[in-house]
């Protein structure tokens, strides 16, 4: 990172004191100008105050694709990594990497919203507009968030990353209320499409560390991308991942295929001319996003899930089946109901229904002290 600026209002925040302690230079300056180039913005970090509402629901565009109703906490914006498929390249108007300094205000909002619906279970992630842990060595937010979530009776924090920056959180008092998740992909995709991220072996080593620290973990095999040798590469990935963690600590596993809107296709081709990810056979779905044509997606999921089930020794992985202690919650991210039916035998009836399934699974497997999830508290909302 080349330049860190701190908004004058944030100078006294603990996150900034950490910069001084580490001897990392920064300037105290108000930044009003917008960096429109998102790549240039990656090299300019700005510690900013919280503005407006920061907790929201992960975007759902079409009811034909099932989403999981996870909440997102906007604690960072932009990311030091440079994945070819990243939607931020077509999303951010201001590419400046922003880190909210006043994390306490973020948590005040989280606590207020969770307290307003005490009978619901909230999954709250910090990864919508950036990586949850990538900047942790410079501007640590995670430890504070983890320890704050530990005492919220009806919420769990999800930190999702492509980094290996976990050392600073290993001894945090998490109380099993934080799920440390990885976005995982085949070694080929990590090496050629996920630029500047931690290598696969480094991510797996970090996964092992947080597992040993007693954290719950999440595995996101998303976006799955067709490439030469993809079948063997994804099978190898599954084996390496399972060997790096304890299946009983896996809270959830998601699968999703490469998707982007048509405008982003052009951005990918301009920003990553050597990338071939836009060249496959794709169709525009009802949510306006381009995806692999469905028979190709089915083939991918079939190869992947068959091997994953074998490695985990599971026959039934449907999130609608009776919950077993050893079975993580499996779900598709932004997939159609018929894909769910094909692989799980049935599908949630709505986004709220899937939210309920998450709560029930977490309650049965890890959280006797979270509110008992009832249909009324989810499906009537």
């Amino acid at each position: 990172m080349s330049k860190i600026k701190v908004d004058p209002s944030q100078e006294q925040q603990a996150i900034v004191e950490q910069l001084s302690a580490l001897g990392i230079p920064y300037q105290v300056e108000k930044q009003d100008d917008v960096i429109s180039n998102y790549r240039k913005g990656k090299k300019n970090i700005h510690v900013v105050p919280k503005k407006g509402e920061s907790m929201d629901t992960c975007a759902t565009i079409s009811d034909k694709y099932i989403c999981c109703n996870v909440k997102v906490l906007k604690s960072v914006s932009n990311c030091p990594y440079d994945c070819s498929y990243c939607f931020l390249q077509n999303y951010l108007n201001d590419g400046t990497t922003k880190v909210v300094g006043d994390i306490k205000s973020l948590m005040d909002e989280v606590k207020e919203k969770c307290a307003a619906e005490p009978d619901r279970f909230f999954r709250i992630g910090t990864w919508e507009l950036g990586d949850s842990l990538a900047l942790e060595d410079v501007l640590p937010q995670a430890r504070f968030l983890i320890e704050e979530f530990a005492s919220i009776p009806n919420a769990v924090l999800e930190l999702k990353t492509k980094s290996d920056c976990v050392d600073s959180i290993l001894d945090a008092a998490h109380n099993h209320r934080t799920v440390v998740s990885w976005s995982l992909n085949s070694e080929y995709i990590v090496d050629y499409q996920e630029h500047k991220t931690a290598s696969l072996p480094k991510r797996l080593a970090a996964l092992k560390k947080v597992t040993e620290a007693g954290y719950l973990v999440g595995l996101h095999f998303d976006p799955m991308i067709i490439h030469e040798g993809w079948k063997e590469q994804y099978k190898a990935l599954i084996e390496q991942v399972i060997a790096s963690t304890n299946p009983d600590q896996i809270a959830w596993i998601s699968l999703g295929s490469l998707r982007f809107n048509p405008e982003m296709k052009k951005k990918i081709e301009q920003n990553f001319p050597a990338s071939s990810i836009t060249h496959s056979e794709m169709v525009k779905g009802d949510d306006g996003k381009m995806r692999y044509v469905k028979p190709l997606r089915i083939e991918m999921y079939d190869v992947f899930l068959s091997h994953l089930k074998g490695c985990l020794g599971l026959d039934d992985i449907s999130p609608l089946s009776p919950i077993k202690k050893s079975t993580p919650l499996f779900y598709f991210c932004m997939e159609r109901w018929d894909i769910w039916q094909r692989f799980f035998g049935e599908s949630p009836t709505s986004i709220q229904h899937l939210d309920l399934l998450f709560a029930q699974n977490f309650y049965e497997r890890f959280g006797q002290n979270i509110p008992f999830p009832t249909i009324e508290n989810y499906l009537s909302k």
């Binding site: 836009t278 056979e281 469905k294 028979p295």
Partner: protein
């Protein structure tokens, strides 16, 4: 013929002035009537021209290249041209080695509104092969359309330009077919465009008719089929199944294969046909199930 004096304060700028005015006169048609004569008289430089709008205000003190170029654009009414023409005019200067900041200044000067990536895209665009650039100007591409071509390498665009001679290509055809050809070349891992030209779908399209419009439609269809082999094959199977149902009933489906559903249309001219149609539908269950299995 009028003569005006342009006082140049910096001798280096004077040399540039002569070169730039000569080049622009040679390369850009709206300047073709201007005669440029170089004559050193101290710091003065005289221009002779019969183009009335060039000359009236040309007596101006110039102390930098930027001033000179700004004067050039101002006096040639560049800001009144279409955006792409303005960019093309700029290209005549920037191609000669002027830098990013100069381009930024010129874009602003000729009134092309700034948006993200404009300068980068403009740099790429104006460095395209001059034949390609002439083509996109002559086909009246919008600036957005022209910029969309910047993601291709120059050899591909030159190849597309050659291909376009066999077909009828408006700007939107060119954009669409460039995208399709580029994807197909990447899918087939063919970087040798001469070999790519020999591809069956291209050769068949060229041979399909003497009519350029028909050839273009043919190329579009064949490229789509080649780019979407899975959809093409599954839709073929679905079509074959759908053709087996009774004539008074038609089965339709989402050709993108995303929606798993069959739409049934029945044609009735009398309510007495209800029973027969109901029987037909029942008899078609197997076919409908086979179709749903494919979706």
């Amino acid at each position: 013929m009028e003569t005006k004096v342009c006082r140049i304060l910096d001798p280096d700028v004077l040399v540039d002035a002569i070169r730039l005015f000569k080049d622009s006169a040679k390369n850009y048609s709206f300047q073709s009537t201007v005669l440029v004569k170089g004559a050193f008289e101290g710091n003065s430089y005289s221009l002779n021209g019969n183009d009335h709008h060039l000359l009236p205000e040309l007596t101006i003190e110039l102390s930098s290249q930027e001033d000179l170029i700004k004067a050039y654009f101002t006096h040639n009414y560049v800001s009144q041209l279409a955006e792409l023409d303005r960019l093309y005019a700029i290209s005549l200067f920037v191609k000669k080695g002027y830098d990013y900041s100069l381009l930024n200044m010129l874009l602003d000067h000729v009134g092309i509104n700034y948006f993200e990536g404009l300068v980068e895209k403009s740099m790429k665009l104006i460095r395209l092969d001059s034949e390609v650039l002439k083509f996109i100007v002559s086909k009246q591409f919008s600036l957005k359309q022209a910029f969309s071509l910047c993601r291709y390498d120059s050899s591909f665009l030159e190849w597309m330009l050659n291909l376009s001679f066999y077909f009828h290509m408006s700007s939107s055809h060119f954009i669409e077919l460039s995208d399709a050809c580029y994807r197909l070349s990447k899918q087939s891992q063919c970087d040798d465009y001469n070999a790519f030209f020999q591809l069956e779908c291209i050769q068949d399209s060229i041979a399909s008719s003497t009519n350029h419009h028909f050839r273009t439609s043919c190329l579009r269809e064949k490229l789509l089929q080649s780019l979407n082999p899975v959809q093409t094959q599954v839709n073929k199977q679905l079509k074959s199944l759908a053709s087996q149902v009774s004539g008074s009933m038609t089965l339709n489906w989402d050709k993108s294969l995303e929606n798993k559903q069959i739409d049934v249309t029945m044609r009735l001219t009398d309510d007495s046909q209800c029973e027969a149609l109901s029987d037909s539908l029942k008899k078609s269950r197997g076919i409908i199930q086979s179709m749903l299995d494919l979706l």
